[in-house]
């Protein structure tokens, strides 16, 4: 006895929203507060400490630049994936979503290499507060990437069956996943200058 | 009102300023509570079902409540702007000249208050955490010439009457709070930071230092003593304490 909940697919006329779209925006607002709190913590720790390590000594800028490019690319491809659905082109959806997933995996692999380099040099969270914040912020970001990957993989694989039965709802899901993925991308675009360049 | 509230005796120059804020606010509170309380009881009796079987939908139409609210706002603004902000600012700025004051360092630890006097040279000796031991709780470097006449006392804080006191407050381990109720002084002692506070005692007496921040299992017994002494008595005490 599954219950019909209204406005899962169609928009509510007076608010112009579907439930999922509103929910994802709310969720992202809360995520902004989470990363915002951590950024504030970073700023406070850095500005309040007597000596802050030279960040460039610890990080691998070329690798991170490459990673930035990879992630921005994936943001583009996920938009293409959603647009393909809007144009009823399911096959190109698969292509673009596949590319998004690949880019996400690529990001993780590069990040793994970077972490490996840190541990090789015996750089751990406890080494100093810069590395502590580095691991917390990037670690949390990685967790978000993994979460997004799982969702995207689902929408690429088993979840895509919904295209046959409820195309509008499926498109809505891809849209929500895309919003989330943009957010993850955006967080990285903040992290990159803060942790690597400043 | 002041007697009614039962605050500890006022024994510093600024205590009255702080108490004034408390008293004014309690007047405001008393008036509001009495007024609304009376209104409340009146409505309960007058408009109980037995006395008023049919409710009047539009209810109260008089506009006086707006004036009451405006009056509350106004009182709060007055107390805030003319009493509280100046009283607090005087605590955190407007420090007296160090030459005219008695300067001490207070280092809190679980569960004791270490008071460090600079001695006759008015210069604190160097301290180093590596020198900390049970005999030397603040890690004073006795080799430093400035430390020669320094006095460190534990849980006993003596101050002379009528002269401003400046305290440089910090902690060795966790957060404590340095409370002198009769002085209307309270300030958190935070490790890694030094906070300065000042006050001028105006009455002699022997009272207690109260730790006012949960600092572990001994928080409840982290009690020190402080004595406001006549200046001569204080000087004598300091001289005696400085001779090993």
């Amino acid at each position: 006895m599954e219950l019909e909940i209204p406005y899962t697919v169609e928009e509510r006329p007076d608010t112009g929203l579907t439930n999922a779209r509103l929910a994802i925006w709310l969720f992202l607002a809360s995520e902004v507060m989470l990363f915002g709190s951590l950024f504030s913590a970073y700023v406070l720790l850095r500005s309040g400490s007597e000596f802050w390590p030279r960040q460039a000594d610890y990080v691998n800028i070329p690798l991170a630049t490459l990673n930035t490019i990879v992630l921005i690319t994936s943001s583009v491809t996920i938009v293409m994936a959603w647009a393909s659905l809007k144009l009823q082109q399911f096959r190109s959806y698969r292509l673009y979503m596949g590319l998004t997933v690949l880019a996400g995996l690529g990001f993780l692999i590069l990040k793994g290499v970077e972490y490996g380099q840190k541990f090789e040099h015996h750089y751990y969270p406890a080494t100093n507060n810069f590395l502590g914040m580095y691991f917390v912020l990037t670690g949390l970001h990685i967790a978000h990437v993994i979460g997004g990957l799982v969702v995207n993989l689902y929408l690429l694989g088993p979840g895509a069956r919904m295209w046959k039965t409820a195309p509008a709802q499926f498109t809505g899901r891809v849209e929500a996943a895309g919003l989330y993925w943009h957010f993850v991308d955006l967080v990285w675009i903040f992290l990159f200058p803060v942790l690597y360049l400043l | 009102m002041l007697e009614l509230l039962g605050l500890p005796p006022e024994a510093s120059a600024h205590a009255a300023e702080i108490d004034r804020v408390i008293v004014l606010l309690h007047w405001l509170m008393a008036v509001l509570a009495a007024g609304w309380g009376a209104f409340f009881l009146y409505t309960l009796v007058r408009f109980r079902r037995g006395a008023n079987p049919v409710a009047r939908r539009e209810g109260i139409t008089a506009g006086w409540s707006t004036y009451v609210e405006a009056a509350v706002v106004l009182s709060e603004v007055v107390i805030l702007v003319f009493f509280s902000i100046p009283a607090y600012s005087a605590r955190v700025t407007g420090f007296p000249n160090a030459m005219e004051a008695t300067e001490v360092r207070v280092v809190a630890e679980q569960f004791a208050w270490n008071v460090h006097y600079p001695g006759a040279d008015r210069t604190f000796g160097r301290t180093d955490i590596r020198l900390v031991s049970s005999e030397n709780p603040i890690g004073l470097d006795r080799k430093d010439p400035a430390a020669a006449d320094d006095v460190v006392s534990v849980n006993q804080f003596n101050i002379p009457l009528g002269r401003p006191v400046i305290v440089h407050l910090t902690s060795k381990d966790v957060i404590h709070s340095f409370g002198l109720p009769q002085m209307r002084v309270k300030q958190d002692a935070i490790p890694g930071m030094v906070h300065d506070l000042w006050f001028t005692p105006t009455r002699t007496g022997d009272w207690e230092i109260v730790c006012s921040q949960l600092c572990g299992l001994g928080h409840y017994r982290m009690r020190g003593f402080y004595s406001v002494q006549a200046p001569e008595a204080f000087t004598a005490w300091l001289r005696e304490a400085a001779t090993p």
Partner: protein, 575 residues
């Protein structure tokens, strides 16, 4: 037929989930209260063995039945944590919000039923985690509910588990708040415009926004503290600490105040999370039992929203004594005074609403009425704390404890009791027993004031909170020390009178008067759904359409003194 599990354990029905929340949180309330009853023994009779049950706690906590300071601190920290995060908020939001809000907006369920179920189970997990921490070596968290580092850094393993429990609870409330907001925005019945929402729904909406946007700060803080404790980082640890005679290893360079900022950025909005749903409950009960609408509905809604915004800007009034300069303290004193204004307006509006009413004194109404002066006392005593100068004298004394307990205990808890008596017939189809209810009210009212009123006297005299011996060491409080026994006996008396409530809750299930669908003759949509037998999943036989504002009581000319929101045109109503 859905299986037993689907129906009662992993139900997707907001009403079942609401009841799950309510029962679980009531048990936690009782548990949190019990912790306090133990503490009050130690406060009244420091150093004397606990009678009868002293042996139960083991030598690590209470050798010879005498509570150790370590144990007292655990009880204190866990009382605060349990009451706030596991008791009051889950009951007010998870319980009442979940059950009543979808009914009041005419929805068939929450927008995301599976998410709703997940919220409950995360909450449950968080609660179990917190409880489990009592049996760890060193016991539960013991650094206060505020968990200030560095004290919490040096604390036993229980602190780490506390952080883990908090992460579950935070996750639960984030999912819940997304769900609540979406439901209120999207699933309102046709015709139910914003200014036709019952005030209860407004309370829940603002609350959900506070939870959504404030909790992430604590999430971040808990994550950082967990890193400090597990991975040895120094986010909150300054350099050069000497603890227990030894220099503390570690990189240092951190800042203990960072934790306080993050914690209070959550915890101040959290106190409005404790009060707004309570105000919502009180409004519903007052309108139904005065037979008239609330005075200044729009003003109250505006005030509640303003309260929500402002509550993000006052957090550092808990930190006046951490070495704040003039400008920052001026800012926070000012915002604190500003935030008191909407509370004054709301409370005044509630008082004014009584005027002209036809007041029925049933049990829910008694509790709701008592809320008004009790919240008034609690709110007024917030003012001296909100000014930095007077806070120098009052910070960390029992005055603070008195202030906030007046708001949360005879305030919020009374409102919650009122809500239980009021909506019980909706849930079970039966009314609770009035005689038992009135005894419960009278006893609770007298004794709860007996606990908390003397706290102001003690606090003004300078008696500190969180003292294991209740201040017995200190000379300056010896004149007010005798109140401790009085307060403790009041607390035990309060406990005794709760038995009438517990008995009533269970007894009325069988023997309560059948209530029908609308026993209070109320106007909001929750009473339009049939009550007994309990509602099926889906709530309304046919989707309701709303034609009027929430409180059309005593409309002149009509035959009945109330017109439900879904009634298009009542007999005798002017067109």
């Amino acid at each position: 037929m859905p299986t037993f599990f689907r129906r009662y354990i992993f139900s997707l029905d907001h009403k079942v989930i609401g009841v799950q929340y309510a029962l679980t949180s009531l048990v936690f309330l009782l548990f949190g209260f019990t912790l306090m009853l133990l503490m009050r023994w130690q406060l009244a009779y420091p150093g004397q063995p606990l009678p009868f049950i002293g042996g139960l706690f083991g030598v690590a906590n209470a050798p010879g039945g005498v509570m150790l300071p370590e144990f007292y601190n655990q009880l204190g920290a866990m009382h605060g944590t349990v009451m706030v995060f596991l008791g009051v908020v889950p009951l007010a939001v998870g319980g009442f919000g979940n059950y009543v809000m979808p009914l009041q907006i005419g929805a068939s369920d929450m927008a995301f039923p599976k998410l709703n179920m997940a919220s409950y189970w995360l909450y449950f997990l968080g609660g179990v985690t917190m409880l489990a921490s009592f049996v760890l070596p060193g016991g539960a968290a013991n650094s206060g509910w505020t968990a200030y580092p560095p004290l919490s850094y040096f604390a036993t393993i229980g602190q780490t588990v506390w952080l883990g429990g908090m992460l579950f609870l935070i996750l639960s409330s984030l999912l819940g708040s997304v769900n609540f907001i979406t439901t209120i925005v999207q699933l309102r019945a046709p015709g139910l415009t914003w200014f036709r929402l019952p005030f209860f729904v407004w309370g829940q909406l603002v609350t959900a926004f506070l939870l959504l946007l404030a909790f992430p700060a604590l999430q971040a803080a808990a994550l950082l503290q967990a890193m400090d404790r597990i991975f040895g980082t120094s986010f909150f640890m300054p350099s050069g600490l000497v603890y227990g005679g030894k220099v503390v290893a570690g990189a240092g360079g951190g800042n203990p105040l960072l934790w306080q900022h993050l914690f209070w950025f959550l915890a101040h909005p959290e106190v409005y999370v404790l009060i707004l749903p309570a105000m919502g409950i009180v409004v519903e009960i007052m309108t139904a039992n005065t037979r008239k609408p609330i005075w200044g509905y729009r003003l109250m809604v505006g005030s509640a929203i303003f309260l929500g915004f402002m509550s993000f800007l006052v957090w550092a009034h808990h930190m006046f004594l951490t070495g704040m300069g003039t400008s920052i303290s001026t800012f926070f004193q000012t915002t604190t005074m500003i935030i008191s204004i909407p509370s004054v307006i709301i409370l005044s509006a509630l008082f004014l609403s009584l005027y002209g009413g036809s007041i029925r004194f049933n049990t829910p109404m008694l509790f709701a009425l008592a809320f008004l002066p009790m919240f008034g006392i609690g709110g007024l005593t917030g003012l001296p704390l909100g000014l930095a100068s007077s806070d120098i004298a009052l910070h960390d004394t029992y005055y603070v404890i008195g202030h906030f307990h007046y708001v949360v205990a005879p305030g919020t808890i009374f409102a919650l009791f009122a809500g239980v008596y009021y909506w019980y017939p909706k849930v079970t189809g039966r009314l609770m027993n009035e005689t038992l209810g009135k005894i419960h009210f009278a006893g609770s009212f007298v004794f709860i004031n007996g606990i908390f009123m003397p706290m102001f006297i003690q606090g003004l005299a300078g008696m500190n909170r969180r003292l294991y011996d209740g201040g017995a060491q200190y000379a300056h409080v010896k004149d007010v020390l005798h109140w401790n026994t009085f307060m403790s006996w009041s607390a035990w008396g309060l406990g005794l009178f709760q038995l009438f409530f517990i008995v009533n809750v269970f007894l009325s299930l069988r023997t309560g008067k059948p209530a029908g669908s609308n026993p209070w003759q109320a106007t909001t949509l929750d009473w339009a759904a049939t009550s007994s037998p309990p509602l099926a999943h889906g709530n309304f036989a046919s989707a309701p359409v709303v034609h009027r504002g929430p409180y059309d009581y005593s409309v002149p000319g009509t035959r009945e003194d109330f017109i439900p929101q879904h009634v298009e045109h009542a007999d005798g109503e002017a067109r």
